[in-house]
Symmetry: C2
Subunit: 339 residues, 2 copies
């Protein structure tokens, strides 16, 4: 396929063309010891601890946007699902479903981006699969990643059942940037300031947080459904109201402006490089210090507290103007195909 | 969505509709202890041995065909990739990318089929993700599964580097049935006899084979590219010619007839419940006995032998009429979207 510049169906047939697509375009970019044998499965050395296992499918449109692309998103999303489980990522898998007609150059850029994000997270792409489907929507590419991680010491303390009234709710930095970056790229909207996706692997930040000695009870990355979705889940899981202080939620002026322009609630917009943290009330400062000492946690803030038990647990927002309103779980999709 | 019968985009938005789709339609069918906490990752108990890790994307059309559907295929394919690595499956992940407009009843049948195949293999669906994309091709659904397995005792002997000239090449039963079943369903061709996909989880058969004491050097499931593809890979990996006896290759009369009708080479047609085995020359009978004692290996046969070293290693077919021909690796896709 040296002279071709578009993917054709036969690249997915499992024959010589598939072999060449992999050997020439994909594998050299992902090279690592676990992937190299190209067996049906990758073999990972015997782990000393429990294993965490996760998967995510990515259907974001467009494939590339300010601050990232579907490849970076897929790696970060899976690494972050392991991280919030208290696990260090040990291997990820990469399944590509390519639409015929996708430019080979685009595929190569995205695979490069997968490789770069994997290096950033310190995790090998250990196994994968590639399929090609007929041209249709012009979607180009969907990626499904799965990840295997090893639970860190202290991770067993992450247990929402331990959460009590009065505990601190924190977020590791400014929210809503991923969703806004994708929307602006999709709609061709130029905001006054370019908003870049925050997609980033959080395993380093989480490891630092667990090592800090702070009594952390819960970690979750606020992706689809945003901060509002995570806190609605938390209220449901704990059976407690959650109080959120609007003025304390980190949000850049650019993101605030863009959310207003699009008529969206920043609290419900997806993030791909942030973590929501619940910690013992007395340990909020320790959590903030650990976050702020890490490049991905510099904008961390204490945003609320866990409230009383309730038969109808709710997320209550103390608004900037001194009012109160209930934060609803987003109903359907405000932002389709955002991740 | 109690009264809805079609998937809509909002089912994929990460909000209340997503929660209900999962809670009402998907999770009850997959219920197991690992999945129940619905965390970002599933936590698997500390394994005593090495971990195998694999992934596959499934884009088969149509979604349902004689003998199986995309759900059964996805579970069996991932279990089989672990099995041929000598691993007992411990957990699989399930990522669904659903096209809006898919009938909810179809989704439910396919999730039931995932659950049934997982029970058959004795492996829980431990984690998953669900996305919805706009209506386009009418593809309906793609599924990506990943699997984590634990290497069985004796699996370290599976090593293509140990293969020597004169060793036995076997296959666990009649070939080509999966690909023919899908093609007949897609094209609406009625063969004289209905051909059913052979999709089945091979972990039990492989465990029996490894426990038999036979000196097995190599296992591979002949999916895309069929038996021809596996043997072409084997010739390349070992640097040895592979001799295949056409008369010995198990093929039902119905499958032979259907292949001829479609103008396809049965050797290159996909299987989803067969395994190709290379074993020490003296152990062929032991392998056959172990296979034939298992319900999924009753049609096992010795089909060829590993030949001499060569600078241009080839797969050579001894034809039924006494001639010889080179078996080519399939070039592109003879059978697109077969798995």
């Amino acid at each position: 396929m040296a002279d071709d510049d578009r993917i054709i169906l036969a690249h997915g047939g499992g024959g010589e063309l598939t072999r060449r697509l992999l050997a020439e375009r994909i594998l050299p970019r992902l090279a690592n010891e676990l992937l190299a044998p190209l067996g049906d499965s990758a073999v990972l050395p015997r782990p000393p601890g429990d294993i965490c296992f996760t998967t995510d499918a990515y259907v974001v449109q467009p494939l590339e946007f300010p601050g990232g692309d579907i490849g970076r998103l897929a790696v970060c999303g899976t690494v972050n699902d392991l991280a919030v489980c208290g696990a260090a990522p040990r291997a990820i898998s990469l399944a590509l479903v390519i639409e015929e007609g996708l430019a080979v150059a685009t595929l190569e850029r995205i695979v490069e981006s997968v490789a770069a994000a994997a290096r950033e997270a310190g995790v090998p792409v250990a196994t994968g699969d590639t399929k090609v489907v007929e041209r249709a929507r012009g979607d180009g590419l969907t990626i499904t990643t799965a990840g295997v991680g090893e639970r860190l010491a202290g991770a067993e303390r992450l247990d929402a059942a331990r959460i009590e009234g009065g505990e601190a709710v924190l977020v590791s930095g400014p929210i809503a940037e991923h969703g806004l970056a994708v929307m602006s790229a999709r709609k061709g909207i130029a905001f006054r300031t370019v908003i870049r996706s925050d997609a980033a692997p959080l395993n380093g930040l989480v490891a630092a947080l667990l090592a800090s000695g702070a009594d952390v009870r819960f970690l979750r990355d606020p992706t689809r459904g945003g901060l509002a979705g995570v806190l609605a889940d938390l209220a449901e899981t704990t059976g407690r109201n959650i109080e959120l202080d609007e003025r304390a939620v980190p949000l850049t002026a650019a993101a605030r402006h863009a959310s207003e322009l699009l008529g969206l609630d920043a609290l419900a917009i997806a993030n791909e490089g942030k973590v929501v943290i619940v910690a013992a009330a007395g340990d909020a400062e320790k959590v903030l210090a650990a976050c702020r000492a890490h490049p991905l946690g510099r904008g961390a803030a204490l945003v609320g507290r866990v409230g009383d038990r309730s038969d109808w647990p709710l997320v209550e927002l103390l608004t900037a103007v001194g009012g109160r309103r209930i934060v609803q779980r987003p109903y359907g999709e405000e932002l389709p195909r955002i991740c």
